[in-house]
Amino acid sequence: MDKKEYNDLVTSKSKNPNILEDAFISFLAGGVLGAFYEILTCWYIEMFNLTDQIALGWSCLTFIAIAVILTGFAVFDDIVAKFKFGVIIPITGFAHSVASALIDYRRDGFITGLGANMFKLAGSVILFGSVSAFLFAIVKVIIYG
């Protein structure tokens, strides 16, 4: 087997060929979560008389709490395997990555385990989010003053 054949074999095995099915499942799962988020935020606003920014924050925390608890019960990995990007792209994916890193590295101790690995997966989101946000905010300042 030469190199090209090998590469073809690897790509054919490593990626799921059901592109449309994956996309549809992600669409459904993400959509359902989005609809729930809308309902929950409206409910917070009406029930507790909150401004929409505060209500959005509470909804965000609620979803994070659910994702973290499900990760704690080791259920969330199965959910991710099933619904893929429908749960990775929402904030639940961020919470899951922090929680699973903490749970997995617990055995390495508090400092070298928990502390050092907390942002192992979520770190890239925070890093590139911050750096790009800094640049974009400067652009916004230049444009709007």
Partner: protein, 116 residues
């Protein structure tokens, strides 16, 4: 109605992510980072907030809104106390999510048993 538009909007974002994953060599880490940057890009001209007004609060859920909030808060910080405000204000509206994820995850990690 806004429930339906939220459904469509968030669903579409997740679908795009899935399509990118299946057709390129990007890992989920690449894609979430990419989406945060895209959210920030849409935040420059306040476009993301317009979308959110139109399609509902559901758009606060995808990671794109994280990037948008970062840019928005950094800009608000700038208006409040100049260049220093860019640093001071950046995490104002996202800190609830970050600290919530850290604290809840820590408590969970103390209780939960790691998989073998």
């Amino acid at each position: 109605m806004r429930i339906f538009t939220s459904f469509m909007a968030v669903g579409l974002i997740c679908m795009i992510a899935s399509l990118i994953y299946d057709t390129t060599k990007f890992t989920p880490g690449h894609i979430t980072s990419l989406f945060v940057v895209i959210g920030g890009l849409l935040g420059i001209f306040g476009f993301y907030d317009v979308l959110m007004d139109k399609f509902g609060y559901g758009l606060g859920l995808p990671i794109t809104s994280f990037g948008n909030s970062l840019v928005k808060s950094a800009y608000e910080g700038f208006q409040e106390c100049g260049f220093f405000g860019l640093f001071r204000g950046m995490y104002v509206s996202t800190s609830a999510g970050i600290s919530g994820a850290i604290i809840l995850s820590f408590i969970t990690a103390l209780i939960a048993k790691p998989k073998d």
